[in-house]
Assembly symmetry: C2
Homo-oligomer: 556 residues x 2
């Protein structure tokens, strides 16, 4: 059986565009002799459609788009598997289903609703969909195909120590004699995810002794980046075909062919090069957010620090050097090297660079506020005014020139609130908000490898500082970043308690407790943050939902 | 049977504080001869705890707090029903349950897990909890009690045309011979909700021919306001006891007593006076957000318009006149009457009032940007600079004096994006962000009734304007607010499509389509908005989750 993996980049809600994309891929696959093309989960609507599925018209349009896809591929000598939002036919529950259909000769020959609906982290599927209940094997040629949708294949009894669901839809279909498994996915990227997929599907292929065809979305949709990395495994769990990561791809695989060394070696890269992969994920997520929002150009405040430098290089890879504009905004406490380093890098990258000083406006604001502040000492207020004037400057350029502002805050500082709401947090997309500071340095090395050391070495070695008061350093009130990041990983990503963290890292309880309190206290800032690209197992944003007005203390 | 309704205001995460509150109410109820006190859903943890339940320590602390409550009420001659987050005992699924327990003599005599987990609008329970499966009748004295948790009682087969779940836990317990039903709730307020509760529970009482005891949370937690309005109904669905709306209350009800005219007439108010109820909900939600965040004082930008005027009066009722500070920030295009009206109202209310002009800083910003803007005409950029300077001014006062900024935008303008991100959207709480402009006028009349016409009549009659350019009026580019609000209600709250709305309201398709596009296009602003208080069936914020980078068009 000759199967095409249709690894496409759908745009959420663009039903006509997504159908056209499927048709184009299907024609190409047919021309290359495929008997079947498999598209990812919700290929027709994009993923995640979120509350768009609350609109009755949206569900109807999705059903209509599926019929259109059937018709427009009806003349092709191949079957098509596509994902769509379906109209539920059961009387109770939500109106929509997360479904897959098999199309052939202009007809919808099989429909399958997703049974296991992920409802954790960024996933809200129990909110938006009614779960499927029954399953049908699809008989085609010599094969009995077990067709499942993403989470349906992520609950293997043997693979997972702790399971979220009692049912195992793949196992159920295998019991009925399936000869091949096809899993369509919208499985987001995060650190280690590609290796996990290979490991899990490999274990399932070996357990059930059937080949697995795994097709994944590629592209960024708001906070989520899909890496693609689709593959076919034989019944021993060996990769016999693999699609690229982080770009569209059409791969034709022959189920009966043996192991393919090129594919196997591509798949091997899935399990390593993670700093490169995170970098690529950020480029793709940035490019797609900008493009799918209808923008072309971006603006970045360049402070001469490592965060804004990395963001600028990612932006360049995302939208091209001609579409990136860097702006240095020196203030009263900016060091000489900050503008110099920013300018230096902008020149090396070949991006447009402007200098807009904030000092005059800062002084005017201070004069305006002097009467009402009389008798009060300078404090964080004046620091925030500087950050907010920079935010205002960037937003003014954005308004005037129609470019999107990218924010440059990293995960470590957003976690502990070392950022100014309506200041450096201004922007349309928070590119590196899920990248801990230690990883920022690693990714900056990746950036420099790709762009002949565009980020000056001085940027790597200078001590991190917000430069909002004389001689300010991040280390004045934070532990070193490698310590901070270790604490944050356990506290934010793993929900561990302070005492455990202190024990595990051999750190003073007070230090860990202080960091944890900073994280908790700054929830209000994060809830007004720009959307950020998720690259770890737990990002701030839609995947981590905490109350603001709450008083939980672990020390009760 | 003598039952106390323990209508308390829990704080999310404040386990020790919530237990102490329960103990105090239980002692009082015992002193007044109650045999049983019933507290609301998740009374021990507060509602919604959201992802706090992902912390293993939180679940353990909640279980420990329940045992503490049992011990600390163990000497009282009454039973206690309380809600808590439980540790799941089933091997698959989430770690936590949403549970109720019956406490007596220091022991936990019964535990019941919530079976139906609401997962729509603001509710994320399938994300956070594993559902219960089995139920047990609680036998006490002469009664067999059907104890259910909120949603478990909201799926009556006969009452709802469309049901979300196949199971009806109340019905199941009634089949087993329950003689009284107790429903503990965290049922948020919105327009019409109190009447719906009476109607639904009344229908259930009559159908099952048993009395219903319905206890609800009271208080604000982030975006959600619980109104209380607990009640007891006899087996004919008549109210025989009722607790206040929008404040804590302890009501003792005798199940065998007949109808009580005072309670019945209190309950009658639940079904009307909705403008008053919305006003009260906003006061409570504002007070609790400020208090539970640890603030005392608030700052409001007073423009002399109706939105900021209403917000100021609500704030005064929430935290007292001594804790409200109004700031007028006249700019280059402010009319004379704006500062005059703002000052006039501040004087009538007796709140502190300051004037901080933004014109000097505005002119300085324009000078700074002049070189980079050369050859470009003034546009929305300059309007936004004014709004952002006001936001910065308020945030500076907030930073310096430790007061929370309240934003003053209404639902209509937030819907269509007539607000400036990082400008008038700056603040900790968006008090009236779920109040359509037409309702803003109604609530302002309520405010004036309670505060001897503090809002000057001129504020009601002036045409709405942002005053960001000469002679600007909202009506320059928006339909009249009664038309806009009618469109928004159908489009935003009911997810209706443009064509249907145009037909239903007899409006030109273009007009409706233009409004709908404005709503869609401004999703990015709303995702960075301050949390707002929900008072309608569908508010922006956590209860309405749309993608930003999406291209759905109903006209496909």
């Amino acid at each position: 059986m000759r199967i095409a993996l249709g690894q496409i980049n759908s745009t959420v809600g663009d039903l006509a565009g997504n159908v056209a994309l499927c048709v184009r891929f299907a024609r190409e696959a047919a021309a290359r002799g495929a008997e079947l093309i498999v598209f990812p989960e919700l290929s027709i609507t994009g993923y995640p459609p979120r509350d768009l599925v609350e609109k009755r018209s949206f569900v109807q349009h999705s059903e209509a788009a599926l019929r259109q896809l059937a018709q427009r591929t009806g003349d092709l000598p191949l079957s098509v598997i596509a994902g769509y939002v379906g109209q539920s036919s059961v009387p109770t529950g939500k109106q929509a289903t997360n479904s897959a259909a098999v199309l052939r000769g202009g007809e919808i020959v099989l429909r399958q609703n997703k049974i296991l609906l992920p409802t954790y982290d960024i996933f809200d599927e129990a909110r938006n969909f009614v779960p499927g209940d029954t399953q049908t094997l699809w008989h085609t040629g010599q094969q009995d195909v077990a067709l499942t949708i993403c989470e349906d294949a992520w609950n293997d009894k043997q693979f997972w120590q702790h399971r979220l669901y009692t049912r195992d839809p793949v196992d159920e279909l295998m019991q009925r004699g399936a000869t091949v498994a096809i899993s369509i996915n919208a499985s987001p990227f995060w650190l280690g995810k590609r290796a996990l997929r290979l490991e899990m599907f490999g274990a399932m292929a070996r357990r059930h002794k059937v080949p697995f065809v795994v097709v994944n979305q590629v592209g960024g949709n708001d906070q989520v980046v899909f890496d693609g990395s689709s593959f076919v495994m034989d019944a021993e769990g060996r990769v016999i075909a693999a699609a690229a990561s982080f770009r569209e791809d059409l791969v034709i695989a022959d189920l009966d062919a043996g192991s393919d060394p090129a594919s196997a070696s591509l798949a091997e890269t899935f399990a390593k090069d993670e700093a490169d992969a995170v970098y690529d994920a950020l480029v793709l997520g940035t490019r797609d957010y900008i493009r799918k929002c209808g923008f072309q150009q971006v603006l970045i405040g360049l402070s001469g620090g490592i965060d804004s430098s990395l963001t600028a290089v990612i932006a360049l890879d995302a939208v091209g050097r001609e579409n990136v504009r860097g702006v240095a905004m020196p203030g009263p406490f900016s060091s000489d090297h900050s503008v110099r380093d920013a300018k230096d890098m902008a020149e090396r990258l070949g991006i447009r660079f402007d200098i807009v000083p904030i000092t005059p406006a800062y002084e005017e604001m201070c004069r305006t506020l002097a009467p009402i502040f009389e008798g009060r000492k300078p404090d964080v207020t004046e620091e925030n005014i500087q950050a907010r004037l920079r935010g205002m400057t960037l937003m003014s350029l954005s308004n005037k020139f129609g470019a999107m502002v990218l924010t440059t805050g990293n995960k470590s500082e957003i976690a502990v609130g070392y950022c100014t709401l309506y200041g450096d947090m201004c922007g349309g997309l928070a590119v590196i908000s899920d990248v801990p500071k230690t990883l920022v340095y690693e990714l900056s090395r990746v950036a420099n490898t790709r762009h002949s050391n565009a980020i000056p070495e001085s940027v790597f070695v200078k001590p991190p500082s917000a430069e909002l008061r004389p001689d300010q350093k991040d280390s004045d009130s934070l532990p070193p970043y490698h310590v901070l990041d270790a604490i944050l990983r356990l506290y934010v990503e793993e929900f561990r308690c302070v005492r455990e963290i202190a024990d595990e890292l051999s750190l003073p309880l007070d230090l860990v407790s202080d960091v944890a309190q900073k994280v908790d206290r700054n929830e209000y800032k994060r809830q007004q943050a720009a959307p950020g690209l998720k690259v770890t197992s737990k990002a701030f944003g839609m995947g981590r939902r905490f109350p603001i007005a709450q008083r939980y203390s672990e020390n009760e």
